[in-house]
């Protein structure tokens, strides 16, 4: 068992060593610098024996990931429970509905898929709705792409599956530009998405299995919005980002009742137009 753990850790990119002697030790290819971002520009990729990624503030990537992921647990658990209750109300078998929390990992599209099928939509239409709702991952993935560039193929293939709202927000908040240590980022990201994925799928499972006996006092109507507020507000540095957020709020507020995903698409287009129009801050 221990040797398997060692092999897994080596695969991820970190040589096995004690905590006390911990030091990020990138391999020749395990460094990336994004000169557009000051935090990574401070750490030249070619500098031998350089300091750990400044975005981690001297912390271990795993610990930073655990801290970031656990900060979302109070919001993800009730959201997962509510999603599980809603999925349990659909005609989909419980196991299939729960499995969607592993393969889709996106509550809105999970619910949309099964409710569309329940309403008699064809698979093609239901999947089309899912694609519209999940098209936002194209935006998230493109913004996160610098973190995946130059990484091993297995990590890009695996990591892409876990590009979700929460992993996007937490990763880009910690590294607004690129990162300076590829192996460190891999460890951070894998722990982050493992914790978030486990908590999400477990919460959805409990919601499906125990839906009727869950307390009705869970203030989901405010916990879920507050989670998204807390995810985006700390990373907002420009007035144009505030404007983009207002556009997103307005899109969701005014476009209710339209086909699922319309408000997300409208928000994305509006935000993109503002971003394209905005000028680089000096």
């Amino acid at each position: 068992m221990l040797s398997w753990c060692h092999r897994l850790v080596r695969l991820i990119g970190e040589p096995v060593r004690g905590v006390a002697t911990y030091q990020l030790a990138p391999t020749r290819n395990d460094a990336m610098t994004d000169t557009r971002h000051p935090s990574t520009a401070q750490a030249p990729a070619s500098a031998p024996g350089r300091a750990p990624d400044p975005a981690l503030a001297g912390d271990r990537p795993e610990r930073a990931a655990w801290r970031d992921a656990s900060s979302l647990i109070p919001a993800v658990v009730p959201l997962g429970l509510a999603m599980g209750v809603a999925l349990g109300d659909t005609a989909a078998p419980g196991v299939v509905a729960w499995f969607s929390s592993l393969t889709l990992m996106a509550g809105a599209s999970q619910l949309a898929l099964f409710t569309q099928l329940d309403a008699g939509a064809s698979i093609l239409v239901a999947v089309g709705v899912v694609i519209v709702i999940n098209a936002r991952f194209l935006v998230y993935g493109a913004v996160m792409a610098p973190h995946f560039r130059g990484q091993p193929r297995w990590f890009r293939a695996l990591g892409a599956a876990f590009v979700v709202d929460q992993s996007y927000a937490l990763t880009t908040a910690r590294w607004p530009g690129g990162h300076s240590d590829r192996a460190g980022f891999r460890r951070y990201y894998l722990v982050l998405v493992a914790v978030l994925g486990l908590v999400w799928s477990a919460s959805v499972g409990v919601g499906i299995a125990a839906g009727p006996i869950l307390p009705a006092w869970l203030p989901l109507e405010v916990v879920v919005p507050a989670m998204f507020i807390a995810m985006i507000v700390p990373g907002m540095r420009r007035l144009t980002e505030v404007a983009a957020a207002v556009v997103g709020l307005a899109a969701a507020g005014f476009l209710v009742g339209l086909p699922p995903g319309a408000e997300i698409a409208a928000a994305a287009v509006g935000g993109a137009l503002i971003g394209a129009w905005s000028k680089e801050r000096s």
Binding site: A75, A97, S100, I123, G141, T172, I264, G275
Partner: protein
């Protein structure tokens, strides 16, 4: 059967979207203007989930005064502390304390 087939196709399509963005779009650095557009689009999308949380995708819910107050509290706490847990808890407490008073 429909649910299984639908989930399989939807999962593959969603994975293709994610992988395409990470691998194909991110093969080389994007122009700064495009990157800014994408970042702002992501902010707008995440913000849309805030409102969707209040009113629901079908418009059944409503943005109440208590929820608005709780949101303001979440914004302030998140801005000052950058602590998601604290922001969510404070928002929940503000909501619980004010919903009976202001509706």
């Amino acid at each position: 059967m429909n649910a299984v087939a639908g989930l399989l196709v939807a999962s593959l399509a969603t994975y293709a979207i994610r992988l395409a963005a990470v691998v194909a779009v991110g093969a080389k650095p994007l122009p700064a203007r495009v990157e800014r557009a994408l970042r702002h689009a992501a902010v707008a999308v995440l913000a849309s989930f805030v409102m969707s949380g209040f009113v629901g995708r079908d418009g059944v819910g409503a943005l109440t005064a208590a929820a608005a107050l709780a949101s303001v509290a979440a914004v302030v706490v998140a801005r000052l502390t950058r602590n998601i847990t604290l922001a969510v808890l404070v928002a929940a407490l503000v909501y619980a304390a004010t919903s009976a008073v202001v509706g």
